[in-house]
Symmetry: C2
Subunit: 391 residues, 2 copies
Amino acid sequence: MFSSQFKSEALVRYNKIFKALQASDADALLINTNVNIYYTAGLIFSGYIYLDKSGNLFYFVKRPVGLQGELVVYIRKPEEIPALLQEADVPMPKRIALELDYTSYSDITRIAHVFKDAEITNGSTIMRNVRATKTPYEVEKIRISAARHEAAYGHIEAMYEEGMTDFELQIEIERRLRMEGCLGIFRVAGPSMEVFMGSLLSGNNADVPSPYDFALGGSGLDESLPIGCNGTLIKQGSTVMVDLCGNFTGYMTDMSRTFSVGQIPELAHRAHATSRNIHETLRAMARPGVAAAEMYNTAYDIAAKAGLSDYFMGHTQHAGFIGHGVGIEINELPVLAPRSRDILAEGNIIAIEPKFVIPGTGAVGVENTYLVTGNGIECLTNFKEEIIPLD
Amino acid sequence: MFSSQFKSEALVRYNKIFKALQASDADALLINTNVNIYYTAGLIFSGYIYLDKSGNLFYFVKRPVGLQGELVVYIRKPEEIPALLQEADVPMPKRIALELDYTSYSDITRIAHVFKDAEITNGSTIMRNVRATKTPYEVEKIRISAARHEAAYGHIEAMYEEGMTDFELQIEIERRLRMEGCLGIFRVAGPSMEVFMGSLLSGNNADVPSPYDFALGGSGLDESLPIGCNGTLIKQGSTVMVDLCGNFTGYMTDMSRTFSVGQIPELAHRAHATSRNIHETLRAMARPGVAAAEMYNTAYDIAAKAGLSDYFMGHTQHAGFIGHGVGIEINELPVLAPRSRDILAEGNIIAIEPKFVIPGTGAVGVENTYLVTGNGIECLTNFKEEIIPLD
């Protein structure tokens, strides 16, 4: 079933999941969401992956036709699973972990009925924790995304023309990202956050609050998608913050850069410098064992001491975090927020995005994606961090 | 809270939902998904809409800040709802309908605990049925999407250059769609189907089976998103089927057209003519009261009599439907499938997509979006239906 380069990686990931299952209170884990099937199998199929504490593993596949492999069993519906386990002499689990946080109530109820004698526990937690520390294979995928993300951003300066709207500029950047191989899709865990290819914010639109839990808002082009650019003219004296999709390999990088048109106020320059200062401080303190909440508090304190709290992570509405894990999805662990209990660990990939919204001007700041190494962090998104004049 | 043009529409939709709630076995309905909040309120907020059979209505809003209106009540968490209902002298429901099909097990469990004395019923069914028949306001939104969709497709002929890959052509069409105002986002109900801006299929890639339940497959650009174009060169003697995103207004049109490069086999021409023949036949039979399954069977019979069953709705893997409702999402009711129990009703918007996959050549056929009127159906996507030569 696996591509040749994924064969050994499949085993690495299986072992990570198996260990996490061993450490949990469940006997078995049933994976059904696309992202976790992709994580575990290196490809997406419609169906279920079943693992248990005795080391049994099955890929129960509904679609596509034609997958081959020792552990592949084709099914039409989940109700066939118990008989198939029995055939294979695999005992039914007493406690089964299911993806409760990302599977609908109706689907879980159906699966629970299939394992009707088993108690249900939360497999979403298991998979979230497993995925929080990346394997070297995953880090390599993210490095490739970073390089292409950087290459696409390198074209932005040349794209701007006077009189452009935020949407017009975004369209050209989107095209360039796609030409560099961007897959376009922007995966967010859970159904409550929606975005197309990321956001580009300029002028007052940067201060429009959004229903979504992203770092910044923007009114969007339509009531049906209230986030990001809104067709506003990019005016003299405004900034343009570009935070567009870095998914080139199934693994995303998250990178924001600030551009400017004409003279922007000293406050905007000062806030941007403070964002860079926060990055520098966090780069120096981050290493395995450091609390994610401490990272947040440090960033917040720097902004406060600079007298910039009112603008930090939004102005009319403030975001409650300054960074987040990133990988297959844009909102993985750890979360850099005041009440986060996450502790940095080697292999975490985190986006850090101390941003400021300056009313009338736009957003400023830098966002980078970092790898937590054995003794520090390494920046994966290397692109000039100054405010870049477009004119 | 509502924009001025949505005020009277909000009442129309509220009445539709209220009637459906009256006809259900629930006392109250709690709406929490983005699409159903958008449907009901004309905008998206993070929070809940609560309606009951006595005519009470509340917008419990978490984000964004600043929404105003008589019925808006800001909350931080759903646990505050019972006390707020009590304050307003609204009795707690005995049976509450929740969006069980599209809300996670964890979230429903939390909400069920908030309404801990109430029995839970399925509100997803209520909302799916309400949304299946569109209001004149919605039809107007879809007409606008159709016009822009047509305008973008009008540029495709001029975009092709010899030596292009499927991906390169798709990038240029995506850009044109965006320039016409496409919102990009392609909403699919449920988390199991993923796609970026739709699909463009050429040559053998059209016959690669997909895990997703779309009409056709394609291997995609990466294992993480196995659908659509795969970077294949558009060869002489192949077709290019374009099925790209028609969401310009929050409401989508679905339209596919077939293009060709060089001479394509007679079989492909014959299958394309059969697709057009199916459209003609279904246009003549479709009206309120006709069974969706009968539409499917009629289409299937025409394909079979033409000796084309092996290629109909896929070749290596076949899709189990020939059409579907469309609106805010791409997979609404009714479903045109053999075991569908849906009956066409005035106000349904349906995409009909009889397609054929010709091995070695690509996909052929036409997809249009239709409005079911009082006595027939009206085609909303009017664009030439012949196979259009690109060279």
